[in-house]
Amino acid sequence: MSISEASALLKKLSSEVSSSSASASTTLASLKLILVDFDSLPPLCLPTPDSKEEQRIACEALELGCLLAVKNGDGEAFEGNTNQLFPIYSSCLSVPQSANRKKVQGLYLMFLLVENRLADFHSVLQTYTAEEIGDGRINFAVLLERELMVGSYDKFATSSTSLPDPLYQFFMTSLLSTVRDNVADALEVSYESMDLADAQRMLMFQPNETSAFESFVKQSREDWMVVDNEIKFQPVVASNRAEDIPSMKLISQSLSFATEIERIV
């Protein structure tokens, strides 16, 4: 009975997601309440008569949940849904490929990039098959990661214009700010001062985005001072003075070790 209920809810959810209806999240929640009682899903993975159908519904529902979260710009919800979804992928290999699967997989890689969880990124990538990686939606994220790692931020800027799916835009925006932060950090250390226009170019703002650039400087870089069309970076404070060494602690530690060694039988 719950299966039929679930598939009905899934249908409803599917239409709500595509029409961006506000009630989608409540539908998803009630669907999950049914899903949680399916023993065929991880971590139990017990063989039940309807296990295939249950797994299929669970996959599709959670995939829709992921897309919905991206649409709503809710990173946390996206992560929660992927956490529930990916164990099904890995433990229930017989689940049929759904239309949204590769999209979600690609989005998940994007999400990990945004979060700067590179270790997770690569371990997730290991679980994808070659065929999956060949897909444009997933490959996009893979290439992007390579560019970021190499530091070719300019190529990154160009790739942001050719998104495989509009949903990627959400992550690209966050990624851009991440990249921007990295560049800003590098600038601080490399230069004492810099021309405003140069800085704007370096920080990947279009020439027509001056106001955005100015607000970025004001909001996230409070210690930069704008004087006469030039940005003055604050010199990095030198550290590591003698007082910083916890000498007393070290001495007492060494002494206690010495006593212990004496006592070793």
């Binding site: 999950k32 991880p42 971590p43 139990l44 992560e79 164990p87 890995s90 039988v265």
Partner: protein, 997 residues
Amino acid sequence: MIALPTPPTSHSGPTQSSALSLLSMLQEDSQPLVFSALKKLLRVVDTLWHEVSASLPLLEEIAEGEEFPKETKAVASAVASRVFFHLEEYRDSLRLALGAGDAYFNVVSDKSPYVETLVCKAIEIYTKVSDSSSTADDDVMDDNVEDDGLKDKVLGIVEKMFERCYSERTWSHALGIALEAKNIDKVKQILEKCGDSLNEKVATLQYGLSACTTVVVNRAFRTEALTVIGENFRSLPESHNDFASLVRCEHLLGNSSSVSEMLAGLLKTGGDKSLLALQLCFDLVDTGDQHFVSAVTSGLPKGDSVSSEIKADMEKVTAILEGGFAGELELAFLFKESDSDPLIIANLKKSLEEKGKVASLLHSMSLHANAFLNAGTTNDKFLRENLEYLKKANNWAKFSATANLGCIHQGHVTEAMTLLEPYLPAEGGAVAATGGYAEGGALMALGLIHGKPNCATALRTSTTRYLRDQLRTNSANETICHGAALGVGLSGLGCRDATIFNELKEVLYTDSAVAGEAAGIAMGMVQLGNGGGGNQEVTEMLAYAKDTSHEKIIRGLSLGIALMHYQLEEKADGIIEQLFRDRDPVLRYGGMWTVALAYVGTGNNAAIKKLLHVAISDVSNEVRMAAITALAFVLFKTPERVPELVKLLLVSFNPHVRYASCMAVGIAMAGSGNADTLAILEPMLEDLTDFVRQGALIATSMVMMQAPESHKSYKKFKSKLTGIVGEKHQSPLTKMGAILGQGIMDAGGRNVCLNMASRDGFVKPTSVIGIMMFCQHWFWHPCCSLLGLAFQPTVMAGLNHDLAFVKKFVVTCNSKPSAFAYPARLVEKKEEVKKRVTTVSLSTTAKAKAAAAKKKKEEGGDDMEVDKKEEETKKEGEGEGEEEKEGEEDSEAAKKKKKKGPEPKSFELNNPSRMTKSQVRVCEPKPGRYHPVLAGAKSGIILLTDTTPTEEDDEVEKVTVPSVEEEEAKMPEPFVWRPEGAAPAAAPTTTDDGAAK
């Protein structure tokens, strides 16, 4: 129960079941979803707890926050509690489990490891809380108990556990908890509740009695609990009376009068009950608590007040309690059933003499080994046949050689004076200031012969008197004084006589190092266990120890102080603390022994902690050694713990620590033949330091005592022992260990074992003192002889109402005969080997042989007969000589074994015969005309009821004490020593006393 998820099987690749999906659901907004997820988590938490543990903070937030409904909070607590359980954080686990409530933590019906463990934890907290007197070792533990109101909840759980025990009728569990928690009201309640089934009540009471002696550490509470248990025992109806347990209980409480009354009552009832009384008397004597036994004896009705019909029985009772009957029986058994192999010592002597002159140390040790081999058997044939060899003993070696006679003739009280006459100081003779080694040794031998409390009291007191006279008349000679003082100490062990004490004190105040040391020890022996609570005598002894400049006297006094605190437990803490903090290492050394004796057999954790601390931190090697050896004394009732505890010390860089660890293991595991223990001792046999090898050899021999030839390590170790003695480059100290080891391994005609406890679990003072004094051989070699006191016959003897052996009583042993057989006798080595012997030793052997032949002529071939007889008895003792032979061959050639039929699964033991400690488990009295009066009695002296008393039984045998009938033949001739002046008397005594170490 929690259903364990079956792991997914049909997968390939890196797929694993993961709780990640459920954990991520916990962060969802929908509360019902969280609840469902938690319930599902509970099902998988036992396998996936490592993943869940990352979300513990979240779980605790749900469990303790206000956000969620009660039901959700309970499940969250249950999940978190199980995670903590797997993380072995039982405290947190318990806290959350209590929060989860009954639905998820069902104490009454759930028996999963999770619940059981937590209940244990709860009980632990409960005992800590209710045990207000504890000085809180783990403050961490107690701190929070009050804070988070855990206490009440824990009490609730424990209360439920009690209920569960009641409903399941597992009374002993409940009683154990109550005893550990020191809750006397609960004890009473339990004993009341189990009263509806008398059988169960008796079992519970018996359990309580043994738990009191093993588990309850606090002396005051033990007395309280024992009183309650005793009352309950007494209130049992006639049909379920358990007199044996009641006597134990009263003995522990020290109520001698009620025991006397009970015995008198039993005798009056007559019949089986009077047999039972005799059995109880034997058991009482076996405990070795002379003080209590004599108190019981004096409480018995005497003279005219004894009615005529019980007069005969009453005489028997007194014969057992103070007439030394038990001692005679032991002596008769050891004499008759002795399987002492004369070739062991003969071969030893031969290999020592192979290289010409025998070193004094090894010579003296070989005599010690001979004494051990024949301890208590009265067999001094080797000494008689090898007078030449014996004569090589000089100075203190001569002293120990004579003292060893006492070891051999231990318990042979009736003829002690005749035996030792040739050596005793001449009546009225002038006393020389030097020499007197044989005289001193003979006096100590007298003490050794009368050392065990199961010999006749009258003879003991008269010997003590004689020894005191000698002490007075020979006060000018410190050697004789030394022997006499030790003799007085041994024969007057625990008599608490103030005059004797003062006489010894006079000897002490002469400030002679040698005599003073013995006096110090003897003072302790006389006042055994009588020193607690700021005793005046202890203060005096301590003051003198600080005053004198002789290290030997200080050591003697500190050991004396230790003896005076025997079994005093907490009452000794004051003096222990004082001695521990002393600047003099010799006094600290005494402090360690004080702990050993005060807490002997208690397993007291505080004492162990103290000892271990000293063992690794003291600056003096001797103190560290004493501390480690003391561990074996404190823990002898749970011996397996000792090897565990000293395992790390065995690999210490300090050889003294390694030596002492070996000794501790040996003492604790003596006679067990335990394979694990032997395995940890084995590497020590090849240690780089010679005296560590010595310790390992001695310890291994102790462990291998009474091991059958079929034991895995028997052959290897035995050949190692004999091999080391002959090795050219082996250090003398190692050889010494091998020689002593040979003596210990086959001690007392293979019929005795080292054991500090009596069969009833009482601590035997003589054994404890024997082992303790043996450990002093590090400083003073003559102390070796005292080990004889610690040898306890492993005897099974069935007696009828007339106290005679009943031949028709047979015990079935359900095991292969080879598992408990005496090892086969050695056979004479082949001739060619002998030919390679150097000329020097050949001449001596020839001489010895000639002497032996001459002797044999004189004896008229008596020896041969004795030999034959011995062999016969041996065969009888084994019951099936044929099979024994088979067993031997088995162990020799495993291939042959397969061809022959399998060994029989059981065999029979005749009465009396040897029954080793490990053998008791597999033995069962064979049903027949006689059966034990005390059901379940299997070893020791067993009184038997006759089912057909009217029928004559001609197969009985009286207990006969071996005696020196053939005067000349049995008597070893006195040593012929060179005139005092010609003897190398000028040599300093220290050459022989082992202080070289």
